[in-house]
Amino acid sequence: MGKAAQIKYRLSQNNSVIILKKLFRMIGKYKIILGLSILFASVSVILQLYVPILFGSAIDEIIAAGRVDFTSMWGYLRQILVAVAASALASWGMSLLNNRMTYRIVQDLRAQAMRHIQVLPLSYLDRHSTGDIVSRIIADTGILSDGLLLGFTQLFSGIVTLVATLIFMFSKNFWITLMVIVLTPVSFLVAKFIASRSFRMFHRQSEARGRQTALIEEMIGNQKVVRAFGYEKRASDRFAAVNEELRQCSQQAVFYSSLTNPSTRFVNNVIYAGVALIGAFLIPGGALTVGGLSVLLSYANQYMKPFNDISSVVTEMQNALACAARIFDLLEQAPETPDADGKLETVRGEVDIRNVDFSYDKSRRLIENFNLHVQPGMRVAIVGPTGCGKTTLINLLMRFYDVDSGAIDVDGRAIPTLSRHALRSSFGMVLQDTWIKQGTVRDNICFGRPDAKDAEIIRAAREAHSWEFIERLPQGLDTVLHEDSISQGQKQLLCITRVMLCLPPMLILDEATSSIDTRTELQVQEAFDKLMQGRTSFVVAHRLSTVRNASLILVMRDGKVIEQGRHEELLAKGGFYSDLYNSQFQPS
């Protein structure tokens, strides 16, 4: 059932060839392993198929009472032991080689993808959901290695098995083998018939399951709302209805799909009986021995297996190829423009933005002809309604995105001539979206300065007012943080601490205190004020009370600066800013 739920990707023939070529280039260093694996697979398969023949010959030496040729029988049995040992070794060796090859290739691919992510332009990462990229790096690589590389050996050994089986069978008896070949497709047809029937039922089942899962996610996910409205009874009733629907669809799907095995087994049994019948007719004439018949019977028992293997491997390989395409798509994305090597010696903090145009979606204009000159040590506040381009400005300053036209200079040097590290390390940044990595509190605070001493960490934490809660954590600085172990406000305090520890020459604060209550915010604000003394800083804020001390307030709307000046000037002007400001403090 898991298979039915899997999403299957389709590729055109043409693309498949291109991707296969890329794959072979990629697995270059594992070529020898792949070759050896195929060799071992063939050896083990041929020997495994040869063993029944040896058994047959051994049985032929056991004719009746007093007519047993022990010497030849022992000879065959010795051969069997050698063949079995060799085959077992070969198949073990094959598994080891396959293991090594698949896991190493996955490791290589993932490492390569991770390195690539670090240089991909943010425009790519912003456009693709995290889940999508994660599934390419984790799930798709897994399917690729399992499906394609293991599939390759399986396909190969399947073909070897098939060919060898037919040769061995023909060597025993022509007519019986012919009958088996002719009847083989029947079993396929039966399996296919059932599969096409059950596919429809699986489809209905997965639709019903989808409806049920949606209801479960809504109701159980919001159980507290359900509880608050006394909706429990109605929720149960709605669930019962979908549940019954799912039960009916499921029962049919499960039943029909489980008919495949008994049906093919039936066909198989019929063939088996046919082999026994013809064999029994042929033995008295001397065209077949009893041992030969036992060989044919054992082949008849398992001749379906390579067919099934091959057909399942082919679908899996198609799926794997599609996954490969998704991985290559990620790996082949053009990285950011090459990095320059300009360094900033001591940063004074002069920022000059001239005639900048920029938009994410080239068909929709965002920032147009933006100009701003910031003297060292100035505090620039950016305010305006959601979507006006405040955060975009930060993307441009940090060179997360490059401008479409115009120029941004820092200390008189155009930012594309500086290395990204040089530019970015001159800014300390706190974003509204707090990001906490899995690790200890210390790991998180020391993110920008891994060599910081505890005393420095504690000083920074005190300044950012995060020390009060860090102290109360079970293991203090060594407490391991998970996604939900601290509140949003506490996360924000940690992010602030992170910057406080670095003491960068310039600051960017994007709604850095939005999740902190107003009283703590006031205290953090004081710390920021101290930090911003003499440092050029850019502050984006919703709460206008936090931007009043700015040396320059930019009021943005639809990508343009519509007003700028100091707080008092803007209020006196009675424009957009003063409306915004007054509405915020309007008591009702």
């Binding site: 077992a88 919001n222 159980q223 507290k224 009893v290 007054n582």
Partner: protein
């Protein structure tokens, strides 16, 4: 585990019949080598064509009957396992409906959803497979051994030795590798986590120039995972070659033993073929059995998790009937209430006492984590106080039935949650039988009338799951309307207007004040502007009641309240410092 058997009871007949028919099929499978042996030893020996043909027909008949049995078994297995899973899901869903907030907090909704979906599916698969195959494989293995004994006891002894050895080898390898697989899974989770982290934190990583370190950290986990995988792989790769060697060793013993027996005249050649075939059947079934046991093992673990949820009992008991409703002046009263969340060290509320008269508006303000939401959660009895009492209309909340309490109180929670379906469906959560007129009234009060009027189909406008096709402010207004549809006596708005602009927020508060029928209203807010006109304001600081009174009184008496006020109205601080008396809000008030 045993507790789940209850849900299979309705399918008792099916769960017995499924393995029974499977058993019949096995019997036919096991008879096949005997018939073939007869074909060789009697038919071929005497060149008796009709006898051979007879045997052939018997084989065909057995195949057909075997298939019939198998179909029947599959049907009963499907019916029992699917029916069981459906009953189990319903029971779980209904059970979750009875849980109180404390249990919901401990379990977490993600866990509950996984258990209701994935885990129950795994249990269904396990049961279905188990009903069909759990008996089949051992039956064939031991049946083949029994049949071997009927053919020749001395040769059959080889089976008696080989089978336990094979089982021992198979299970040892499985038992060693299962915990290792779990470890490898944990390693994969770590690699996945790091990948996700690198994507969500890409801006921070780049801002702090930590790309190289992130990559090397990832590579350490990546290599660890590979090492683990290779190690498990090496062990589980032993399974097939080892069993292959063992079974063939046993067959070699069997043949050489049989040769002696035949030579002495104790056995015929055809019977040797039969014994050989039984050996082949055993190896096929043993491999199936091993993978079956892995699947069953997984679904057992899932079944335990499912049973775990069903075992959680609600910690809250309700009386069968509400006691006589005393009708006093006091709508809500807290008497020395202390409350701690389960598993939390410190109490979230400490010794809180206050009284609210009917029809009053109460504002609640305080810093992040000061206990505002906790306090209002005690009124509809989402949680029970650890000490002290909460009274509604003069009666302890514990004396109301679940329905009576639910009817009295309307809560709008912080996160506005809407459901897939029309706006009408969503509003009717408040009152199943509400007429459209009542829905519109509620919408108008919640300032959502225009929102709905602008939508195609108005009340019939379909919301996506979670109300994704609405803005944050629209969602908040609709969830407020939903609570108003209920016409509650006590209305609790838990910071539920935060996404509204100031004018709408003000209009909303005005409309709620204008509601008739003496509705008692609790407003939780971060903004002074949102609560300053309340009849009574509760100021919370670290779980204690730091002040209680009107805005003016609190400005006089409560330092925390003053601090909050000044943090939002900075001009007023200067005025306050200069004049030294209650400020009027100064310029900001304009």
């Amino acid at each position: 585990m045993k507790s789940l058997a209850v849900y299979l009871r309705r399918y008792r007949k099916e769960s017995v019949l499924a393995p029974l028919f499977k058993l019949l099929e096995v019997v036919f499978d096991l008879l096949v080598p005997i018939v073939v042996a007869q074909m060789i030893d009697v038919g071929v020996e005497n060149n008796d064509k009709p006898y051979i043909l007879g045997c052939f027909l018997i084989l065909l008949l057995m195949a057909a009957v075997g298939m019939g049995c198998s179909f029947t078994a599959q049907f009963f297995a499907a019916k029992a396992s699917v029916g069981f899973a459906a009953a189990l899901r319903q029971a779980m869903f209904d059970h979750v409906q009875t849980l109180s907030f404390t249990e919901l907090d401990t379990l977490g909704s993600d866990t509950l959803i996984t258990r209701l979906t994935d885990d129950v599916n795994q249990v269904q698969n396990g049961l279905n497979l188990g009903l069909r195959l759990l008996l089949r494989s051992p039956l064939i293995v031991f049946g083949a051994m029994l049949m071997a004994f009927t053919i020749n006891v001395r040769c059959a002894l080889v089976f008696a030795v080989a089978i336990p050895v094979l089982l021992a080898v198979t299970f040892t390898i499985m038992l060693v590798s299962i915990p290792l697989f779990k470890k490898a899974q944990a390693g994969l989770d770590r690699v996945t986590g790091l990948t996700r982290e690198n994507l969500t934190g890409v801006r921070v990583i780049r801002a702090f120039c930590r790309e190289a370190q992130s990559v090397s950290e990832f590579e350490v986990s990546n290599r660890t995972l590979t090492k683990l995988n290779e190690f498990v792989g090496r062990i589980s790769a032993l399974l097939n070659p080892l069993t292959y060697v063992l079974i063939n060793l046993a067959t070699v013993f069997l043949i050489s033993n049989a040769a002696v027996q035949v030579n002495l005249g104790g056995m015929q050649q055809g019977q040797v073929v039969a014994l050989y075939n039984y050996m082949l059947q055993i190896i096929v079934e043993l491999i199936k059995l091993a993978s079956l046991i892995i699947t069953l093992n997984k679904s057992m673990a899932c079944a335990e998790r499912v049973a775990g949820v069903l075992q959680v009992k609600t910690s809250m008991a309700y009386p069968a009937e509400s006691s006589d409703l005393a009708d006093g002046d006091d709508a809500v009263q807290f008497q020395n209430v202390t409350f701690a969340y389960k598993g939390a060290g410190a109490p979230s509320l400490r010794n809180i006492s206050f009284t609210v008269k009917k029809g009053q508006t109460v504002g609640i303000i305080g810093g992040t984590g000061s206990g505002k939401t906790t306090l209002v959660s005690l009124i509809p009895r989402f949680y029970d106080a650890d000490a002290g009492r909460v009274l509604i209309d003069g009666q302890d909340v514990k004396s109301y039935t679940r329905e009576a309490l639910c009817e009295k109180i309307g809560v709008v929670q912080q996160k506005s949650v809407l459901f897939k379906g029309s706006i009408r469906d969503n509003l009717k959560w408040g009152d199943e039988n509400a007429a459209d007129g009542a829905l519109w009234d509620a919408l108008e009060t919640a300032q959502a009338g225009d929102v709905v009027r602008d939508k195609p189909g108005q009340l019939d406008f379909k919301l996506e799951q979670g109300g994704k096709n609405l803005s944050g402010g629209q969602k908040q207004r609709l969830s407020i309307a939903r609570a108003l549809v209920k016409k509650p006596e006590i209305l609790i708005l838990d910071d539920s207007a935060s996404a509204l602009d100031f004018a709408t927020d003000a209009a909303l508060r005005k409309a709620i004040r204008g509601l008739g029928g003496g509705v008692t209203t609790f407003l939780v807010s971060q903004r002074i502007a949102g609560i300053r006109q309340a009849d009574q304001i509760l100021v919370l600081g670290n779980g204690s009641l730091a002040g209680c009174g009107t805005h003016e009184a609190l400005m006089e008496s409560c330092a925390i309240y003053r601090e909050i006020y000044f943090s939002q109205f900075p001009e007023a601080r200067a005025a306050y410092a200069q004049v030294g008396e209650t400020p009027e809000g100064g310029k900001a008030n304009g």
